[in-house]
């Protein structure tokens, strides 16, 4: 680009809220004539850097955020890190996520952060104030920011429509700007629809969409002829609908999404089983299993496997568990099928002793 020299370079770390609102942030910042730089994909170095600098008792996603911020630090003028407090009145993000810009700021010196307050409890005052602050930092006209905000919102909506067709986050990102996006999306989903087994991967989107941390769980499952749906597939109203029977929904919005999608998927006859992927030491996830157990009736329950990931877990153990789970689902499905047909189609175990005894009788 010819004028990339003069543009302000703003970095977005590929962690946490990248997996929720990257399209919005990207559109918003590019509309303001800034150049958006995303940190490298998570790999060993990024993770190691994060582990080396991060403080005590933090969970894996925050440690990763450190790594991505460090990855960006020397390449950009500002790092865009919003304060996400709450997206809906009465619900909140988890404390560590709300405080993540503060934590990062306190531990990495000389960091220039560009922040936005998203707080539904006093939405307009906080958002307007922070938009104004951004305008000042980038020396822009505040009116321009409003237009950018509008178009960013539309862009995010378009993005969400695609992700709801069962595409992964990265797939959607790669096709959203193309003209033939619709065709490609339809192509992918039709290919996926032919698969015999459907598994719902539930959990936080910043875990299962990150191929390094989740050991590429989505691709691994797809390779094994499984159609994968994730908790990204539902709109907010659908999540709310799913939780209508819950006495008092959890007040953490990310936990709500996990619980809502678990309930929705358990009511869906197409889904064969669920894999619940959670980072080690996640306090908000610790109670969700109790919620799931209590709120899904016995008759509707689907097989569910919990996979805990952290910086020490290994690929091999992961694959073994996935394959065992798939075997179990297949056997279950097979059994159900044969029950309906009235015949026993399960392969008989050939035992040498029975054959011998049959021979001797004859």
């Amino acid at each position: 680009m010819p004028d990339s020299e003069s543009k302000i370079r703003i970095g977005i770390p590929r962690a946490l809220f990248y997996y929720y609102y990257y399209p919005f942030c990207y559109k918003f910042l590019t509309e303001l004539d800034a150049e958006v730089v995303v940190s490298d994909k998570t790999d060993k170095d990024v993770l190691q850097q994060g582990l080396n600098t991060s403080g005590n008792e933090l969970c894996l996603p925050i440690k990763l955020l450190y790594g991505h911020v460090l990855n960006l630090k020397d390449r950009v003028d500002y790092i865009f890190l919003p304060y996400m407090v709450s997206m809906e009145e009465g619900t909140y993000y988890c404390p560590k996520l709300i405080g993540s810009p503060d934590i990062v700021k306190a531990n990495i010196p000389d960091l220039k952060l560009l922040s936005l307050d998203i707080d539904m409890d006093n939405f307009y005052s906080s958002l307007l104030a922070s938009l104004k602050a951004i305008a000042q930092t980038l020396s822009l006209n505040p009116i321009k920011i409003y237009a950018a905000y509008k178009s960013a919102l539309n862009y995010q909506r378009r993005f969400n429509r695609y992700i709801m067709q069962g595409l992964t986050y990265d797939e959607t990102l790669s096709l959203i700007d193309r003209d033939d996006a619709k065709k490609i999306a339809a192509n992918i989903s039709s290919k996926e629809n032919g698969k015999p087994i459907t598994i719902a991967v539930i959990g936080h989107t910043y875990i299962f969409n990150d191929p390094y941390i989740s050991f590429d769980i989505i691709r691994k499952l797809r390779e094994r002829n499984v159609r994968v749906w994730t908790s990204d597939r539902f709109t907010e109203p659908q999540i709310k609908q799913g939780m209508s029977s819950v006495e008092k929904p959890p007040h953490w919005s990310l936990s709500r999404r996990v619980l809502g999608s678990a309930i929705n998927y358990s009511g869906d006859p197409v889904v064969d089983g669920m894999i619940y992927i959670t980072p080690f030491g996640c306090s908000s996830d610790s109670l969700i299993k109790e919620y799931i157990e209590a709120n899904i009736p016995h008759t509707k329950r689907k097989p569910i496997m919990t996979l805990t990931v952290d910086e020490h877990s290994s690929d091999a153990g992961f694959i073994t568990r996935i394959e065992a789970f798939l075997d179990m689902l297949e056997r279950k499905k097979h059994k159900r099928h044969s029950d309906r047909m009235g015949t026993d189609t399960t392969p008989k175990i050939i035992d040498i002793n029975t054959i011998l005894s049959e021979l001797s009788e004859n």
Partner: protein
């Protein structure tokens, strides 16, 4: 003759520190029947751990244990006083999550979370069980409870001062005397006036030499600070070492009733927001605020004590190192949980006190920093 309708619902309150007199006064005022339950102890904690999920926070496990005990004694409604809007802390899911866990064991109960000091909101929560409850009764009960808690806090402070200036025996007799007086007083006005009596009574004792004594501020969330079993009796231990311990968040502050806000308070809040812009959960911002406050006041050291896996406090804990370097004040971080041992705890405190003692006498910050006293 008692019918099913006349039967009163039995309540139990979560207890910490001196809270029993406050909750009793509150319960008596609004006319509910309470069941006495124990303070957290080894037994209740062990029971809580048996059922609680692995990564739930330590307070969750404590409450679960206490809850089991309360139900054994026949309580039907369990009240957890928080007095604060909880925002993002896990405490907002307390009660319902406990219920889900205990449902598996076939137990049923209800939980009331007192998450604000607004009498109307509290009235609504109790209306179901106590039909003849009025706003006046609730406000009076709240005032009583608040007064008693803040009075006892003052007694605690004087106890430490007397302990340091004279001896433990005299401090204990002071404590016993005032504890009795405050428990037996049930008028709000008398309690208001009692602050003066208390101060005058304290003046009879020799004054503490605040200039030469080592001062440590103990900060963290209010339940850990107030319950000696959970915080491993840290205030007493510091007094044993001849250090004056200052308590971080006070009840008078926690009650969210802005009575006298000074310009200094506003300046302090603005300073706090530079480090933690939003309150990430019940008492996290106060932890940061207290750290700044006591660092500015020139305290020799700060100890942050917090329950294991408490997310708001962990967030604060990861910001505190910055405050430690900015204000050049050493901070010791002490997470506590069911496995906290006596010996290890004492060793760490003693080492910290030794460090700040050396630092004060040599006034050489750099050497301490390399010794590992500060992150």
């Amino acid at each position: 003759m008692k019918t099913e309708k006349d039967k009163k619902t039995k309540f139990a309150f979560y207890q910490f520190g001196h809270s029993v007199m406050a909750t009793d006064a509150f319960a008596k005022n609004i006319g509910i029947e309470t069941i006495q339950i124990e303070y957290p102890n080894k037994d209740t904690i062990n029971r809580g751990i048996m059922y609680a999920p692995e990564f739930s926070c330590f307070p969750f496990k404590i409450v679960l244990g206490i809850l089991l005990q309360a139900m054994d004694r026949g309580a039907e409604v369990f009240v957890i006083p928080i007095f604060r809007s909880i925002t993002a802390c896990q405490a907002a899911d307390f009660g319902i999550a406990h219920k889900y866990i205990l449902q598996k064991t076939g137990k049923d109960f209800e939980v009331i979370l007192l998450d604000s000091m607004n009498p109307a909101a509290i009235l609504k929560k109790f209306k179901k069980y106590v039909p003849d409850i009025t706003l006046k009764k609730v406000s009076e009960g709240l005032l009583l409870a608040a007064q008693k808690l803040s009075l006892m806090e003052e007694v605690d402070e004087y106890y430490r001062k007397i302990y340091l200036s004279t001896d433990k025996r005299r401090a204990e007799s002071f404590m016993t005397k005032w504890r009795k007086i405050i428990t037996n007083t049930s008028s709000v006005i008398e309690l208001y006036l009692m602050h003066n009596h208390l101060r005058n009574d304290y003046k009879r004792y020799p004054d503490i030499d605040m200039k030469n004594i080592l001062k440590i501020a103990v900060i963290g969330d209010i339940y850990t600070l107030n319950e000696p079993f959970i915080n491993n009796n840290i205030f007493e231990r510091l007094c044993d070492l001849g250090v004056y311990p200052e308590q971080g968040i006070r009840w008078s502050e926690a009650f969210e009733i802005p009575i006298h806000i000074t310009p200094e308070d506003i300046a302090l809040m603005n300073e706090t927001k530079k480090y933690m812009r939003h309150n990430v959960g019940t008492y996290a911002q106060d932890t940061i605020k207290d750290a700044i406050r006591y660092a500015e006041k020139g305290y020799d050291g700060i100890i942050q004590i917090y329950p294991f896996n408490c997310m708001p406090e962990i967030t604060a804990r990861n910001i505190l190192p910055k405050i430690s370097t900015d204000y050049k004040t050493p901070i010791l971080y002490l997470p506590v949980d069911e496995q906290t041992g006596d010996a290890g705890f004492t060793t760490r405190i003693e080492a910290f006190v030794d460090l700040i003692n050396i630092r004060r006498n040599k006034d050489n910050f750099a050497s301490i920093q390399t010794a590992g006293g500060v992150k």
